[in-house]
Subunit: 223 residues, 4 copies
DNA sequence: AATGAATGAGGCTTCATTCAT
DNA sequence: GATGAATGAAGCCTCATTCAT
């Protein structure tokens, strides 16, 4: 008898733990890692400080988990969006568009991943680096495919993918930090053209915008 | 007795103040803004905590001044390097090369400007934003010139310059955070080609590397 | 459903309660009262924290009960061992030997009674004092008998019994705290002689070791 | 100029540090190590919590220093008192009397050394053990001298000295923990006789009380 | 009766800033 | 102008105890 644990039907547990993660996400996104106090997280999660420490060993652990899962969600979202397409360049475009769209819908996600990750201090350098590397690797894959398919001339896709990611990242960051930012989507056409040209994609392909403009162009955001 | 006791003959006033700034620069670069305690700065500047507070009102003020002056130095260095050249694209190239070379020589400078500035917390967002904006504006100017001169087709130079800066920034950041990074200069040829192509600079210009490889290619670093 | 669900056939009620006491004894002996957390006790007793608080009101209550029952066991063991003998001095000797033997077999018992009892804090002073007093009273009784029987000259048996107990206690404590202690039994002959002489037992009696060496000399340990 | 540190004549500094030690001594003696909060020490030393951490790295360090210095004082006091006498047995007697007298005058000293030292937890076992060992070694030395001088028959002075110290310790402890204790000095004659007999000091020597009773018998207390 | 998640009152320590000398 | 001791407001984390299930 003592072995049966859960009586409630659907999803009774995990709630609190998730609530803490959500609260932490909120708090970190709002105030940054260092300026977020554990009590903030507790308040944001409608729990007590002690409750948090029942589920997580340290404040740092919460942040780490958050970074990882948030990145996971975003990356899997990108991969899902890209799956339908086979053309390497189109895949890259979709990837960029998906990230941009996601961030456009969720400044907080962007904030957590691209500002706090650095702001959290030297202790998180490895994590931050890994995060950036994951995204760059995603892009690098598409570029490698494109090179392999003869669509673009050979080049150091490593550096190029870092540059792509950096460009994307900076556009998002400037948008995050701006006082009253314009719509992030407005930057897409230019960014798209700039990035595609940067790896010598033929102008004819650049001119042909794959999907018509419109709300459908920026899919739902994660998290 | 407590008034006027200057013993040093001519040395203005700024000696001690400068020493503090230098010490702070050192400390911040080594441990980051948040993890640097005022005693670290004092030790690094061969002063006492009290001495620091005579010259600066807060730790934050030191950091702000440091960010500003460091950026000033770097920008004026870039402008000096660029002054000799009149061709807009060449100027942009030189600007990128100068920044890259400076950072290659001074990881600490890069660290302060591009990592700590974010790591310092939300309180510094405006500063960080201004810093990035200054660099982007520099680039934007060159691109605008290039467009005006008909060298490259019209485009949203605002977004493009942000993308350029972002690409540059990310390459540097990845280099800063890497375990055992390769030489930063190695990334230059690819980065150069990628950036120039991104704004549709004719391939003939890209192929013609303006300056031969060599130590002269990466000028002295600031700070 | 929540009422009455006893599945075990005959096992009284005290099984779980006893398990908790055992677990607590273990935990306290290993880490000391203050450094033992209730979860340690729960884990050691294969129960949950809540279960403990069903049987005991506080952590302190557990410790108090443990001190009392452990002392009870040891004292009744001593009294049993002593019962067979009628000579007062022999009885005292047996008492000392029994205590020493018990501790030799159970460092943990000794630890609980003689170290943790103090380490538990001022709140337990009365308990500790009572514990020591019980042992001293035991000894005092034998000494009084010996004086009454004219075996030893009159003396302040109160102080003498405290001294005896203190000597015994210290020998045990030093053994408990030693890095790699020799066998506790090795100290017995000297300790015996010292104690007997201290109350002026005739040398002839001291020379005559009452029981031959061997395993029988150190009876089974309590707890 | 900056090298001259102290301007005040006699003993200006060291004051605060000493005050903290005194305050800590007070607090520990009153409430025990574990139940003493750093704020208690601060209050008792008329300082702030931060001030304490300027002079000591941890609460533990304060306690350790206190244990060491208190023991030092007591031991040097004993050695000084003993120095005038050359007869080994007389020296031992004086040692015991000095300790007893010191404790009689300063319950707090005794409390710190003999109760808190254990109550502070497993982390201090080594310290406690060393403390007890120092006192036992002191006694052992006198006993060895006495054996060497042929005053008492050979015996395991190691065990005997531990027993002596234990007896002394217990008498003090019982006095410390008693509700309304009698004067500690009252126990001395009996304790003296018991201890001397325990190592077979001739009865003639025991009968001859070396110093007449009186206030001079119990010298000033340390600390 | 039992479980284990939740609570919240502290505890120790850090550190930017102040201030007497 | 400089020094460094002092201050005290937090911050992170622990843990005895409670409580819904």
């Amino acid at each position: 008898m003592p072995s049966r644990k859960r009586t409630s039907p659907a999803e009774p547990e995990r709630t609190r733990r998730e609530a803490i993660l959500d609260g932490a996400f909120n708090a970190f996104s709002r105030r940054g890692y260092r300026d977020t106090v554990v009590d903030d997280i507790a308040a944001s999660a409608r729990t007590s400080k002690g409750g948090i420490y029942f589920h997580f060993p340290t404040k740092e652990a919460i942040f780490r988990e958050l970074m990882r899962t948030t990145a996971d969600k975003l990356i899997s979202k990108v991969e899902k969006a890209v799956a339908a397409e086979s053309d390497p360049i189109a895949r890259a475009e979709i990837a960029i568009r998906t990230v941009l769209a996601t961030f456009a819908g969720h400044r907080t996600t962007a904030r957590l991943l691209f500002l706090d990750a650095i702001g959290a201090g030297r202790a998180f350098q490895a994590e931050t680096n890994a995060l950036h590397a994951r995204f760059a690797a995603l892009i690098e894959g598409y570029l490698d495919e494109a090179v392999g398919a003869g669509i673009i001339p050979p080049l150091d896709t490593r550096v190029a993918s870092i540059a792509w990611f950096g460009a994307l990242n900076e556009v998002v960051a400037r948008w995050l930090l701006a006082e009253n930012p314009a719509r992030l989507e407005g930057a897409y056409p230019t960014l798209r053209a700039v990035l595609l040209r940067s790896v010598a994609v033929p102008e004819t392909r650049i001119a042909a915008v794959p999907t018509e403009s419109g709300p459908g162009q920026f899919p739902e955001a994660v998290q």
